[in-house]
């Protein structure tokens, strides 16, 4: 896949398929507790082999992209099946990068992939992600308490959903 360049915001952000070359940067990101506590599948403490299994080209239905800032890998954004997920290095937070990446991923999912609906599971204490997703028109469809792998305790979680119709009506925030 050719990198997709985006202009605007003064940030040079691009995306390409995640691969083995991202293992080091990915390991750095998931070495941060404040990142991993908000993820669903990554263990804590970080497991080098688990990281290696994720720093691979995604073979399933959907995509896993590396988020590049000035060519350097700073996060990932993915749509696997109909589920959206992303992570960002803590040093890159609060600059609108997550919002841009989610926008690009949704455009790919509803556009080229023709998804009818995208869901996202967010821990209830993740105000930043709840805010980003609400900005795209995601609505909260279910609250539940599920085991968090990283935290090791049952944790409140929100299931958010965005239909294609809502996406088209809502436009880009």
């Amino acid at each position: 896949m050719r990198p997709k360049d985006e202009a605007g915001g003064g940030l040079r952000i691009s995306y390409r398929a995640l691969g083995p070359q991202d293992l080091g940067a990915l390991s750095d990101i998931v070495g941060h507790w404040e990142v991993v506590r908000q993820l669903g599948s990554f263990p804590w403490p970080a497991d080098p082999v688990f990281n290696a299994t994720r720093a691979q080209a995604y073979q399933g239905d959907g995509f896993v992209w590396a988020i590049l800032r000035d060519g350097g890998m700073v996060g990932t954004v993915a749509v696997t099946g109909d589920e959206l997920g992303y992570m960002l290095h803590p040093g890159q937070w609060r600059q609108g990068i997550g919002r841009r990446a989610v926008g690009a991923a949704l455009a790919e999912a509803f556009g080229r992939l023709g998804r009818g609906r995208i869901v996202a599971d967010v821990w209830a204490d993740n105000a930043a992600s709840l805010g980003v997703l609400a900005g795209f028109g995601f609505v909260r469809v279910r609250d539940e308490v599920v085991m968090s792998k990283a935290r090791g305790v049952p944790t409140a979680s929100c299931r958010l959903e965005l239909t294609r119709t809502a996406w088209e009506a809502h436009g880009i925030p």
Partner: protein, 180 residues
């Protein structure tokens, strides 16, 4: 009707031994070798000294229907060797990926036992994995050679906690694409 999924674990033939599912009668030899500091310190999870009951718990887990990790004993009895030369494990991860682990009793080191076991397991590929991952401590180059002998590619440096050492130890991570 209730559908029950049974986790099958095949017996796999190597040249000098067979890889067969771990069984209750392996407890004694397994404890003898797993209790060796040279074995424990090469692994992340084996404590040293080995607490009583550790091996029995390992065997119970290895026989549980809902397990995610299969454990094989390297059984050399048919070739005039001991019933447990070592163990090899294969943990099922998601996305058709598995992680391999192994140890060989120190008395049999440097005889190609581990390479033979890993090669046989890869050839059989019982999980139908597309990729198999492994890690070794950097102060255990013999273990790394087992992986490179079997076609694994080096992915990167990391570190992992070793219970037996009570310390975080530098590691090398490897992967093999099976084409399976």
């Amino acid at each position: 009707m209730k559908l029950t999924s049974v986790t099958l674990q095949p017996e796999i033939a190597a040249e000098r031994f067979v890889l067969r599912p771990l069984r209750k009668s392996d407890a004694g030899l397994t404890a003898l070798y797993m209790g060796d500091a040279r074995v424990a310190r090469g692994t992340r999870a084996i404590p040293h000294p080995l607490p009583p009951g550790t091996v029995e718990a390992l065997i119970d887990r290895a026989q549980a229907a809902e397990r995610t990790e299969d454990v094989w004993a390297l059984d050399g009895a048919a070739h005039g060797m001991t019933e447990v030369l070592g163990l090899v494990t294969l943990a099922r991860m998601d996305r058709q990926q598995s992680e391999i682990g192994y140890w060989v009793a120190p008395g049999f080191w440097n005889t190609g036992i581990a390479s033979e076991a890993v090669r046989a397991l890869i050839a059989a590929n019982p999980h139908g994995a597309a990729q198999i991952f492994a890690e070794v401590f950097q102060d255990n180059p013999g273990s790394a050679r087992v992986l490179t002998n079997c076609g694994f590619d080096y992915l990167g440096d990391a570190e992992a906690f070793s219970v037996a050492r009570g310390a975080t130890v530098p590691t090398w991570t490897y992967a093999l694409r099976t084409g399976g």
